[in-house]
């Protein structure tokens, strides 16, 4: 089985395989390590880190929907300083890519976060979250504003020579426009997609089921939308794509790669099956063997329309 090359080369980053664990769905990596071997995974993306610790939104933060879920965690995180002090160390025992996801409420704060984190050797790269729909200050607004995405990319690019991906919002008319901006400002990749804005109401109290009123929709329900966004970027922007959204079986990984993704991230499925990433790897190899594919990355964007 080992004759297939699963590795992925991205600018400034090589992954042993294309499967990353998505931001906000594995915390800082410790807990999921109880159920899965992080050494076998392509990499882990941290929960969004902000300059100062954030408490996050009041409960209720999540609600299940048909083959999906809404979340409004509100970027609860320990902050960059505490992360460097007590969290990043855990990864020194693991041989897997570590990508820090960064969220902020101003372009300058993004810059500051990346600068502080950049000096930590263990960190292999950054994912800039300009698309979190669940915080009032910034969040969705950044992801919808081409000028701000341009500025944030430009500033953070200036602060690191490590891998830099911009995580795009799907809640826009033309996501590829933002991918092009990311490319122009020097990003190494774009991550697509973050969650779709959604909501749900309790029909007896007539209140939103989520305290924050709206939340971000993730899970298998959104997969067709995520695939279409990846395809749109692939056709209209020349930048590597990390495909995210609703991946729940190994076939979905292949589908995202065919549509244009160089690597993928697993999100919601980690909650259901914390061992998913590893379970998929054998199937990916097996698929390549039967399809006579030497290197999995040949699949990227290999669709025929």
């Amino acid at each position: 089985m080992s004759s297939v090359d699963l590795s992925v080369k991205l600018p400034n980053l090589t992954l042993k395989n294309p499967i990353l664990l998505a931001s906000g769905t594995v915390g800082y990596g410790q807990e999921i390590a109880e159920f899965t071997d992080l050494n076998k995974i392509g990499g882990v993306v941290t929960k969004s880190l902000s300059l100062k610790p954030r408490k996050g939104n009041a409960p209720q933060r999540i609600v299940e929907t048909p083959t999906g879920m809404l979340n409004a965690i509100g970027l609860a995180n320990v902050g960059v300083e505490e992360y460097l002090k007590s969290k990043v160390g855990f990864f020194k025992n693991y041989d897997t890519a570590l990508i820090c996801n960064v969220a902020a409420s101003s372009p300058e704060e993004y810059l500051e976060c990346v600068r502080l984190l950049d000096s930590e050797e263990r960190i292999d790269g950054f994912e800039i979250n300009v698309s979190c729909p669940n915080v009032k200050d910034g969040g969705l607004e950044f992801g919808n504003n081409p000028a701000l995405v341009s500025k944030i990319t430009n500033l953070t690019r200036g602060a690191t020579s490590k891998f830099l991906a911009i995580k795009l919002s799907p809640n826009v008319a033309r996501i590829s426009e933002f991918a092009r901006i990311a490319k122009e400002e020097g990003a190494d990749a774009v991550s697509a997609i973050n969650t779709l804005v959604g909501t749900a109401f309790d029909i007896y109290s007539r209140r939103p089921k989520i305290k924050n009123v709206t939340g971000g929709l993730s899970g298998p329900a959104i997969r067709p939308v995520a695939l279409a966004k990846v395809l749109e970027i692939r056709k209209n922007a020349d930048i590597p794509i990390i495909g995210i959204g609703g991946i729940s079986v190994w076939q979905d990984v292949i589908e995202f790669m065919i549509a244009g993704a160089s690597a993928v991230q697993l999100g919601t499925i980690n909650f259901v099956n914390p061992g998913s990433a590893i379970n998929f790897l054998d199937n990916l190899t097996e698929y390549c063997l039967t399809q006579k594919i030497n290197s999995l990355s040949e699949l990227t964007g290999s669709f025929t329309l």
């Binding site: 807990e31 996050g56 259901v272």
Partner: protein
């Protein structure tokens, strides 16, 4: 923590709408403690998508059991499991009840399906030679779950069984039994009841351990979906799944 594919060894209805399901799951059975919980995948497809959390109800050698109410799709599917079906279980999850304490007397207060974690707790307390008084409350006789509990004091709002009233009325009623001694309280049930208990014990030194619930996506600390305000950490929430589900009732804000 383990992810076990556990075989169903029993599944029966023990009262109107209440089921007890048992699994063979040695890895979990050997290490789980009262008050910890399990996160069950009730199906092998995408609907419902998320696991369902349940308190450990009892442990018998290699077998673990869960007591549940049929609420929605997930528990409906669970109620239909047959012998020899397999269910994917994560556990043990969270922190259970503290079992190392000096008080000799204990009071368990259970509201409705809050009874779920107490058969196992009862067994372990008796193993440790503790005395137990169990107060079981419900709206009416139908809601009274006695399974696996001992030394019962029953109270119903409509008076259809036991004392007419709620668990607080019952607590007052049996106060003399406690002889003003130190005792420990364990409770689980609807939020309203837990709030009332918190108030009742607010002024004295009695330790009350409460098992609380929340919507959960993961059950083991990776989604941040289950926050609870905690007196020891004003700037962050605690996570019910990881830091709880059992908390000292004095410490949490509910």
């Amino acid at each position: 923590m383990y992810q076990a594919l556990a075989c169903v060894t029993d599944n029966k209805k023990i009262a109107e709408n209440i089921h007890l399901i048992e699994f063979e799951a040695p890895s979990i059975a050997n290490v789980i403690a009262p008050g910890q919980f399990l996160n069950l995948r009730v199906n092998d497809n995408l609907f419902p998508l998320l696991r369902r959390p349940f308190s450990i109800c009892d442990v018998n050698n290699d077998r673990i059991s869960v007591m549940f109410n049929v609420m929605g799709e997930g528990t409906k599917i669970l109620s239909q499991k047959k012998l020899n079906d397999y269910v994917d279980i994560l556990g043990p999850l969270g922190n259970g009840f503290n079992l190392t304490f000096n008080e000799k007397k204990t009071v368990i207060i259970s509201g409705g399906l809050g009874a779920a974690p107490f058969p196992y707790l009862t067994k372990e307390l008796l193993n440790r030679d503790k005395e137990i008084i169990t107060i079981v409350g419900g709206r009416s006789s139908q809601d009274i779950i006695k399974h696996g509990l001992t030394n019962l004091f029953i109270t119903t709002e409509d008076g259809s069984e036991g004392l007419k009233g709620n668990v607080i009325d019952c607590l007052k009623d049996i106060n003399n039994l406690l002889f003003e001694t130190q005792y420990r309280v364990f409770t689980c049930g609807p939020n309203g009841m837990i709030k009332a208990i918190k108030k009742y014990f607010a002024d004295n030194k009695i330790v009350v351990e409460a098992s609380v619930e929340s919507a959960m996506a993961c059950g083991f600390g990776i989604c941040q979906g289950c926050p609870i305000e905690h007196v020891q950490s004003e700037d962050t929430y605690k996570l019910i799944c990881k830091d709880g589900p059992v908390f000292n009732l004095n410490d949490i804000i509910i």
